[in-house]
Symmetry: C2
Subunit: 391 residues, 2 copies
DNA sequence: CATGTTTGTTAGTAAACCTTACGAACGAAA
DNA sequence: TTTCGTTCGTAAGGTTTACTAACAAACATG
């Protein structure tokens, strides 16, 4: 007995549709597809794009003329390679036509800002001391820095991206950021009103993981651990950032590690990851150990022990996450002199020994190559994604 | 300096398009949207559907006539409630027209099968002892059970859903299932060839989490822990199942818990979650404790201690996952006499005490209400989703 | 120099949804 | 009882989209 008349199998595309689709949505999708293809590969002809996207040359031509009308795409002369047939007209995103403004509010004492190119390169950067400002004063400081950075842009600004510490919801409201003294701060809406530019606000670790994905050649499934004054994580699954039911995904700083107590944390619990791993705690421990050491060699060994133990603790926390999500790629962001060595070696070893070897055999853990600009670049990715659908 | 001529903000729909879209894809999306709306609410008129989906009455009528042509939708007379205007013709999914066949291969010794209605109700169930069969013999047993269940269907079969233990990839190949002695077993393709029906094979815990989502009223973000001969998890984020980079997401059974060793596990490590929590280990520990106890009260207390400790261990493993994903809903599946009591109480308490209270204040942990049919029903969800885009 | 190839454009077609309009069927008020 | 307004489902025509087919332009190669 078979299902005669049963419908054909629904494609992935149509699984759980939640909204109606209209013909004009097709246009937007394909327009963005072309733009994205061009953004990623650069320097292609209309015919190349047609082959790559599966659209016809006719449709690509039409979309390109629309994009050229918006000054987003430009022609760059003809291809030089000697080939049979009519020579191709090369196209590219008009990378000089727009710039992106980014802010990184995650520094404990200093806010950073920069103008970036569409490729995520930092063109000029600025900074402003928070000077202990909190609440409305902190907002004013941010607004002042933003105005400074905007003034330094030398091309029309595509949008403003901001990486903020704390819990940030989808609308760019900072639900809770203790360091800045913000609760339910509608940062995105306020700055958008102030500047008239499209603004995107996201959590700093989420911004960082986007940067690593777009510019760091990372895979579609990726966990980034950001170690600074606090410890946070950004998580990407299937190329999409995970925000969590209450927008607090990645908040692993105050998860307790292990079954032996551990140091007391500011939050009141004992053995939080942050109490093991934050930069202040590590530098203090290293400082104390160095002072107490009899010889330089003793100091060296004590430092290595401290970092190894911190790395082990990170591995213990990450192991269940790696196992549950079957992650293969983990990236660390933070001071390399602390993270890039005994610490990360201990983390990866702990991860391997605490999870199924067969599944984590090809697990990689590495430092980000984005350095200190990672949040700025990630915030730029948000703007590219929101304004162009590209990243 | 603002971005004059910058394009409008791209909608969520167009973020990172990966494929071209054609007009016919619109049709499929909207067709499925209508079908899904009807599946979930049932008994609606064309005009109701138009209001709910945002499509026009004209389009809905057209789609409905197509669906009626495939016998997927039927008219059920006119609405009786006295209202002004022409009375509405009520529609519903033709729930009696098709049935679904499901298999649950996750039992350690016994395979289960059932015929289900489109609503996920078990209409008739069968079973077959595995009798230690492994490899090709195990496949033959599965095929035999499948033939039995198919023979008991009383309506055309929409498709076959199978929940298998082990690691199952997107194509329904069982990459590794020790209990069944399978490695790279193309179960889905083979059974599809054998029966001529659409077949879907997924991991048993992933099937379970889908059942909980579709029939258990669970939210879009959900972690289900399935405790049996082994321990596995199914993870749903944003309503989508997570498979992991190597299709091994949810394999938390062999993640080490805590920083004190713990019992030796079959995998060679010490203190794996499975060594604390699996049904064989719990029943044995309880049996031993009961035998050693002087009084019934002592036995009672010893059992409670064992279950509490197991629950605590589960909480320790889940805490980083809950923190990293900001999960609020956790469901347990397995023998209620073991899980539903001291164990789950200890788990939820451990979770609360080891994660940020503010974020996990509304964390809920509960037993599934799906009972032993959870995998069968989840496998049916896979079929509904694949064949109708509905679930 | 003829031939084949590649590019980008023009013209016409098919599919999908929309808007507008209409008859049918009902309740409520005159 | 009749009229009016409402709601339902359908019909006709228009718009948007991408496709196919055909073509001129420009180049390499034999």
């Amino acid at each position: 007995m078979t299902a005669t008349g049963a419908p054909r199998t629904i494609q992935d595309r149509a699984l759980r549709p939640t909204t109606k689709v209209l013909p004009e949505h097709i246009r937007l999708n394909n327009r963005t597809l072309v733009l994205q293809t061009l953004y990623r590969t650069g320097l292609q002809s209309r015919a190349d794009l047609a082959r790559e996207t599966g659209l016809t040359r006719v449709t690509v031509s039409d979309l390109i003329s629309e994009l050229m009308g918006e000054n987003l795409v430009i022609e760059l002369g003809q291809r030089q390679e000697p080939r049979p047939g009519k020579p191709a007209t090369l196209l590219d995103i008009n990378r000089a036509a727009f710039q992106i403004v980014s802010l990184d509010l995650s520094g404990h004492t200093r806010l950073r800002g920069a103008v970036l190119s569409l490729d995520g390169a930092v063109l000029s950067s600025s900074g402003l001391d928070l000077a202990g400002a909190r609440g409305e004063a902190a907002f004013d400081t941010v607004a002042e820095l933003l105005a400074q950075v905007i003034a330094r842009a030398t091309a029309p600004i595509l949008g403003v991206g901001i990486g903020s510490p704390g819990i940030v919801d989808r609308a760019g409201v900072v639900r809770n950021a203790p360091n800045l003294g913000w609760r339910d701060q509608p940062l995105q809406a306020r700055l958008q009103g102030l500047t008239g530019l499209p603004v995107r606000v996201v959590n700093d670790a989420n911004a960082a993981v986007l940067a690593e994905h777009s510019f760091g050649g990372a895979d579609h499934d990726l966990l980034l651990v950001k170690v600074g004054h606090g410890v946070g994580a950004g998580l990407l699954i299937g190329g999409r950032a995970i925000f969590g039911e209450r927008f607090a995904a990645g908040e692993i700083g105050h998860v307790v590690v292990g079954t032996d107590d551990g140091p007391l944390c500011a939050c009141g619990k004992s053995g939080c990851l942050e109490a093991w791993l934050s930069v202040p705690r590590l530098t203090k421990a290293i400082h104390d150990a160095t002072a107490a050491a009899a010889t330089p060699m003793d100091a060296e060994r004590a430092i290595s022990d401290i970092l190894t133990e911190a790395g082990r603790r990170l591995g213990i926390i990450l192991a269940p996450v790696v196992g549950a999500l079957n992650l293969l790629e983990i990236v660390l962001s933070g001071p390399p002199e602390l993270l890039d060595g005994a610490l990360s070696a201990a983390t990866v070893e702990t991860l391997r020994s605490r999870t199924m070897a067969t599944e984590t055999g090809d697990l990689t853990l590495r430092m980000t190559a984005q350095g200190e600009d990672i949040v700025l670049r990630g915030a730029a990715v948000m703007v590219l994604s929101a304004q162009l659908g590209v990243s």
